[in-house]
Symmetry: C2
Subunit: 148 residues, 2 copies
Amino acid sequence: MISKACKYGIRAAIFVASRQGGGLKLNIKQIAREVDAPEAFTAKILQILNKHRIITSLKGPYGGFFIEDYQLEQPVINIVNAIDGMSVFRECGLGLKQCSASHPCPMHDQYKIARDALQSAFQETTISQLALEVNEGGSFINNMVLEK
Amino acid sequence: MISKACKYGIRAAIFVASRQGGGLKLNIKQIAREVDAPEAFTAKILQILNKHRIITSLKGPYGGFFIEDYQLEQPVINIVNAIDGMSVFRECGLGLKQCSASHPCPMHDQYKIARDALQSAFQETTISQLALEVNEGGSFINNMVLEK
DNA sequence: TCTATAAAAGATAATTTTATCTTCTATAGA
DNA sequence: TCTATAGAAGATAAAATTATCTTTTATAGA
């Protein structure tokens, strides 16, 4: 579907957004811990997100990651695009190099429905919406802690 | 989304189905060529499909792969299940280990729509339907040959 | 029974993705 | 200006997936 890196990236961006405000900055260690992602790998992903201006980073003491107001209203698909690219939303369900309405694979129509639904899901949802949901306690960006 | 192996497998099964009848058997070389898949890898995949009784194989001279009548009406999801398993249709869109209506990730509802659409696409389509489409010339299971 | 054929099984290799580790750079504050 | 902090960049490693190669097994026909 989408890569693990991309999923970590979305969770990380949501977390940063959920803590936005008051000049607060988050460091890699915190972010990785809170979204249950490997630290060094998360650092790489945050780097990409910063380059694509999805979040913002500042080096040095008191530095870290944060999200600016204008970045909050971006659709989640921007994160997918930054990390995986947009090809998932164009690729053939049966792996053909060219597959379109004019030269379709036999599952083209059915698959397109699912692929378009996926694209809409990411396109129509903003980072701030997800952060809000998490802050309201209705949803989660880390794994459940299992009771013993 | 689904693995390359699985896509090769679906294309191969459709091809075998499209040539079904008259006791005709197809060998690995032909199948791989016709569906534009690497030969040795296709052999492995056909092995899996045979084990799961999605297609049938016979060793030895005049042997090869074919599909029996009862196998033709199977939904394509059986192929996905044989090669990739059913987890794609259950997994969280943001990669959480547990994600459900009661402990959802913030994209749960939107993602579920796409994931369910994908499952339906594979569940509601049979191998014979796709083979028929290919035989009628309306769709393709190999890459277009580009004119020079 | 022997031989040729074709798939199955097993071993190995290449590639991609995920993950980690080390060094470099920017920045704040003393 | 010096030092400590924290991200960026680069190199390396581990794991998973894709792909290939070799050997074994089953089978039809001579």
